[in-house]
Symmetry: C2
Subunit: 143 residues, 2 copies
DNA sequence: TCCAATTGTGCAATTAGTTGCATGTGCATA
DNA sequence: TATGCACATGCAACTAATTGCACAATTGGA
């Protein structure tokens, strides 16, 4: 079922639906939220043990360029990937407790508008991470 | 002259002003804009050939934690460092031509205010990179 | 001044991610 | 169905950055 879905998605992007790419995309589709390259690798290896980690990274790079997925550093050791949907969202990451909160893309629209107005710059903000202090951690010294 | 400056800065942060740290800080102070770890390394090595690259990274991490410098990925192979001044600025990076433009921190103040209003989240945005298309590159297919 | 505790450094090993190159595969065309 | 070409993959080498550990330097207190 997701096999057909991922094939369709790849074709719609003009990418060849190879078995490796379909499995990579399925791993991302099946993941409830953010997923790292290593976890994708392990998931794909169960079905296709011969796959190489560089194929994972190259496919992720391709999907990112086509804005099919987002690639974001949320401050954990490795970068996280997520399927990009119509409704974009972004994250606030607490530097103190590590909590990850979510906010809607409309919070960024005024910024996009002002950069376009001021510089004719068209921002492409797929999935942002903004670091700071959450409500619980303000006033604590452990910054 | 900058030797005294860097020593003062380190002491004001509560950090020991070791020769390595002073030279690292001076390399950043002397750099007109953004500088990468490797360039700092080479500059410091001229005065202190024995220094190890991990000392560079550890010192940079320390300075970042104290908000003395910013650490930003502007899409070049390695991360760039810059002295943080009172007047903060950020950058727009063109995905097409690679141009790096600058904008003032006040463009981000409405976003900071709305995140605080909406989530009581205190964003700490030292030095941002926003990717997109510059005025010259809009309408070009090479995205 | 001496000593112990704390902090900083060098070194080597490790991790995450990238790249060049030779081989393999998918797909259009005949 | 066969052939050729562009694209995709595996592999090994590489780069940027991080970490564990032993030793070195600095500090503050006896
Ligand atoms: Zn997300
Ligand atoms: Zn928190
Ligand atoms: Zn800058
Ligand atoms: Zn441009």
């Amino acid at each position: 079922m997701t096999r057909a879905e991922s094939e369709t998605l790849l074709r719609s992007l003009g990418l060849r639906p190879t078995p490796q790419r379909m499995l990579i995309l399925q791993a991302i589709l099946n993941s409830p939220g953010h997923i790292c390259a290593e976890d994708i690798y392990e998931q794909v290896r169960e079905e296709y043990p011969h796959i190489n980690i560089s194929t994972i990274y190259r496919t992720l790079e391709l999907l990112k360029e086509h804005h099919a997925i987002s690639v974001t550093d949320l401050g954990q050791g490795s970068v996280l990937y997520e399927l990009l949907k119509e409704e974009r969202h972004h994250h606030m990451v607490c530097l103190c407790c590590g909590k990850i909160l979510e906010f809607d893309h409309r919070f960024l629209e005024p910024l996009e508008a002002s950069l376009e107005e001021g510089y004719r710059f068209k921002a492409q903000i797929d999935h942002f991470a903004i670091f700071g202090l959450c409500a619980d951690c303000q006033g604590e010294e452990d910054d």
